[in-house]
Amino acid sequence: MQEPISMHNIKERQISYVDAIREALDQAMDLDPAVILIGEGVPDPKAIFSSTAGLQEKYGRERVFDMPLSENAITGVCIGAAISGMRPVMIHQRIDFSLLSIDQIINNAAKWHYMFNGKSKVPIVIRMIVGRGWGQGPQHSQSLQALYASIPGLKVVMPTTAHDAKGMMMTAIRDDNPVIFIEHRWLHHVKDVVPEQPYEIPLDKAKVIHAGENVTIAAFSYMNIESLIAARALLSIMGIGVELIDMRSIRPLDVDAVIESVQKTGRLIVADTAYKTGSIAGELIAQVVEFAFEFLRAPPLRVCSPDFPTPTAASMTAEYYPTPVMIVQAVLKIMGKGDDTEGYRQLIQSVKREGLHDVPSREFSGPF
């Protein structure tokens, strides 16, 4: 299946990211009886933020499972089932819980095909959700994409839009390798045009979502939303053109797409949801410097979360996460522009978020 050339022309149906995920799971199960779902709370009344709602009713208890709180074993069970012909999709409501299964993911899933010389394969998708806000705190809000991306044999993706979430989920389920599918919780309610029919989007391609000539911003997951706010304001208020690239995939990393943009702009900022040290942002910059140094007109910059765990109290989180303001400031810095102009003040005013900072939308009232 090919990605439709222009989704916006075929049918303007808009659904949320979480509904797009649910639709992808539904269609993948409909297309292939080997697809099964398992996770803590999959068939419960909340249905993993509604992303698995109705699926047990539709496909039965033989294909849609709740699970014991045994992340490590159930990951291994899914790997064993995958080796024997099933296509399990396993779900962690928080990525932090997946750390209990890291032996199975790194020692078995990532290596099984390799260490047995291609004789077996492990077609498994592990959904991991990154939490944020409403006091998620140190153990419910980590962005661990770089950790998984450092392991050969894994594929790691982090779609930003509902359209990509559906297409990449369809591809991930059909892929014969273990795919770590990371969803940012604050993207779940964001709507996009999503075709009703099944379609696939490659797991290794970044996408330009805002064209510009002056600065390249390569962004991961939710940071695309923040970067887009910054890019629009920079263009309309100061005439600065940001080329915003939604990286979509973490491993493999589409470095070529970034180099192509940097050849035009000469400036690179990477916006990531993770801790700065050891982030995939650092890896991306390292590769651009290694392979395209001659095109860089200024040192690349990273906009990431700080190098300490996420605190819980709202008074501390207010300045923990990177914001459009920080992205705007990074763009001005890399452009060598001062911050004492009227334009700068206007710019900051326009991207500054008013009201509560720890919820993804006005309708949101907790607890997640």
Partner: protein, 320 residues
């Protein structure tokens, strides 16, 4: 000599023993450049369990897997080639002794992270059930593995879904050089499995007929949909944890323990029984040994002529 069911068991045990001894003899030549955990003394469990299985049944194992692999029907040449790091090895040289696989006979894989393959075997049994195939999966592990959390998570899931899986615990009392009483309280392992809601029993791992009988009984249950089963077998590890030698001089086992352990040789004990039954005589034994030795020596010679994999080979199969 006519191969009967009982002489088959003897032959299989003898073959594993002679392969392992050949490996031990040749290990010092430094051509097999990988850690190696020999199963000498533990042959009856591998052979007794495998004899109760069909070729379509599946097995997973651990770091000490040679016996399990061979008993399940694993290709001997592919195993020896793997130990010699050849491209013709069962993993093309990427695994070594601790990574055995032969999918043609349902030997799904052995790996050396203790507990790592336990849930995979449960997943294999789960797949069989979901696919409505009447296949059984066996997982071999040791007493040390029973201390891993994943073991208990796996027992819980297997029991919850009544999966057709047979847990085989080879209890040799030692994790490397650490005795079980330094690691576990004084209670039977199989009774803990029972507490998970799993049918469990304990047997003598040096008695191949007892192992076969207990396994057959369990496998019948599994095929009828009454899984899982857990069997614990006592056994004595003859040689060092890792490597080709005896290690009696390290004194982590008492001389009387070593003496009684060696005296319970599964092969010698069974040979005595079969001689008593008149199933075979000492000439038959000599013929059998010569046949196996000829097979082994042909394979060792041919493997040395096999190609070595290159770094270019190592770059393949990262993704399916």
């Amino acid at each position: 000599m006519i191969i009967t069911a009982d002489s088959y068991l003897l032959k299989e045990m003898l073959r594993i023993r002679l392969v392992e001894e050949a490996l031990a003899d040749k290990y010092s030549e430094q051509e097999m450049r990988c850690p190696m955990h020999l199963c000498i003394g533990q042959e009856a469990i591998a052979v007794g369990v495998a004899a109760a299985l069909k070729i379509t049944d599946r097995a997973y194992s651990n770091h000490r897997a040679h016996g399990h692999y061979l008993a399940k029907g694993g290709n001997l040449k592919a195993m020896i080639a793997e130990l010699y790091g050849r491209a013709t090895g069962c993993c093309g040289g990427r695994g070594g002794s601790m990574h055995m696989i032969d999918l043609d006979v349902g030997f799904m894989g052995a790996t050396p992270i203790v507990g790592g393959t336990v849930p995979l075997a449960v997943g294999s049994a789960w797949a069989s059930k979901l696919q409505k195939k009447n296949e059984v999966t066996v997982i071999f592990f040791g007493d040390g593995c029973f201390e891993e959390g994943v073991m208990h998570e796996s027992l819980n899931f297997a029991a919850l879904h009544s999966l057709p899986i047979l847990f085989i615990c080879e209890n040799n009392d030692f994790s490397v050089y650490t005795r079980i009483n330094e690691r576990q309280p004084d209670r039977p392992i199989y009774r803990v499995a029972q507490a998970h809601g799993i049918k469990s029993a304990y047997g003598d791992g040096s008695d191949v007929e007892q192992v076969l009988k207990m396994t057959s009984n369990a496998v019948d249950d599994l095929r009828d949909g009454f899984g899982p089963w857990f069997l614990e077998f006592s056994v004595f590890r003859w040689r060092e944890h890792c490597g080709p030698d005896f290690d009696h001089h390290l004194n982590y086992r008492r001389p009387d323990e070593i003496e009684s352990g060696l005296a319970k040789c599964p092969i010698q004990s069974y040979l005595k029984i079969l001689l008593g039954r008149g199933v075979l005589n000492s000439d038959d034994l000599t013929i059998l040994e010569n046949e196996i030795q000829a097979e082994i020596s042909t394979i060792f010679q041919s493997v040395l002529r096999d190609e070595m994999p290159t770094i270019d080979d190592a770059r393949t199969y990262l993704y399916a």
